[in-house]
Amino acid sequence: MPHRDPGSVGVVETQTVRLFSDDQPLVLADGSTLGPVDVAYETYGTLSDARDNAVFVCHALTGDAHAAGYAPGAIRPGWWDNLIGPGRPLDTDRFFVISANLLGGCQGTTGPSTLNPDTGRAYGLSFPLLQMSDFVTVHRALVQHLGIARLLAAVGGSLGGMQVLEWATSHPDDLANAVVVAASSRLNAQNIAFSAVARKAIMSDPDFRDGDYAELGVNPDRGLATARMMAHITYVSEDALSAKFGRTPQGEAIRPGFDVDFAVESYLDHQGEAFLGRFDALSYLYLTRVMDYFDPFADTSALAGLAKRPVKFLVVSFDSDWRFSTQHSRRIVRHLERAQLPVTFREIKSPWGHDSFLLDGAQYHATLTAFFDRALEEGL
């Protein structure tokens, strides 16, 4: 059984907690309110008596609370299982790790396809537009619910790294260390363009029905699968795709046509199909839009709080990542370093593109291990 692997946290069940209610709703960054808000989360390891070993894991666009271990009966582990477990960089014999599905998501935390108790129907497009700080507000409420006053660290890749950056800049008292991997502090035109095409694919699917698809018993499968297929191309490097598929035909011999002629087409089809079973089209719209608008350093006083209460940053990029290239990470480092904050930066050599942050490259994991071990030694 894979969960018997000594490096695995074993079988884990996702828990859900109501952190905001109708009476005490979540107040969003734009002033509007939302309630109730339920949050799905998992924890791994044991919180120390001093409550000083907690690390919060923020997931990327299509992640969920199930970061490590095995859901009951599952064959595949959580999405960051290679990072979290006994003897792994986030060693659960020493760290207490928290992972939660983010607000607006579709894996147990309240999002646009959740039933609105006021109407008895899914929110759909009446769900409020979100900002990065709204994710952080909900994460903070969970941390408080767990009785933790200060995190030893927050860590995340891609959109997860953006949440960590927002968290550290807006509430530096909350955490001692921040690990921002393959992320961005401001999407460029190309990034927004890719998001735009993905959203267009979803919204122009006849089954999108202005976001009321669930109500009408349909789903914009074609649009969502197309969005995922395109996004997936941006998550891997040209070299990785070439190495994996080259021009290999799908099946015996290529008979030119408009079907799945090449292996890479079949692979993308599979990526799109598999995505339908686990992701919601409205969440895709809402979450990508948050990324488009994220621009924390636009506010010139963004780092004022950090100056008084410095957080130690680790920023990591991958040389083959063209979704959020090293230039994105360098921009983050420039802002932090110029504000005289302690920041460590590495560009890791990895052939796998953006997805490298989910893999267990030796230099990558050694870097995280060194940073986390030092963090634990230093304490809060």
Binding site: K312, L314, R330, V333, R334, E337, R338, Q340, P342, V343, T344, F345, R346, E347, Q363, A366, T367, A370, F371, D373, R374, E378
Partner: protein, 202 residues
Amino acid sequence: MSVDNPLRSDLAFVAHLIERGTRVLDLGCGTGELLAHLIGAKACHGTGVEIDPDAVLTAIRRGVPVIELDLDSQMAEFADDSYDTVVLSRTIQTIRQPRLVLSEMARVGHRLIVSIPNFGWWGNRLRLLRGRMPMSTDLPYSWYDTPNLRFTTLAELEELFAEIGLRMEQRITFNSKGVLSGRNDPLSNLMASSAVYVLVPA
């Protein structure tokens, strides 16, 4: 991974030149030995720059903020006048564009500390006279296996300092055993095996 180990002697000397509580940029910081000492013992803060992956890992484990970048091409990442002291410790001979890097150091820091092995030391000259490339305790590499790309004597280095507009505030020279020798000895280009300069942009 203790910071209590004694510092390498040339680093101890550099540390001695750095004021308490100041902001330090250490270019070619290696495993972060100097910065760890300055942060721990002298309440300094700052950043190291290094490209050797194993050295960077050790620096991270020590708690030294370290940024991976190429000194020859990426010094623009650092803002004007953003550090009290910029250190280039036994690194200048390994970079491709020492003139550019020194100018960038002058832009970024108020004060520069540059340490360097002296290719003009008499021992090296003797080896050359015998038809052999210089090798010494300060230049321990054979010609085919050396990180050193740029070979200068103290005299020529000082000409470059003047050309860039770097004023020498101090020059401390060492003999081949690492023992301090006279500060303003006119024969230092011959007698010194290595030197440490404190420079101020004019």
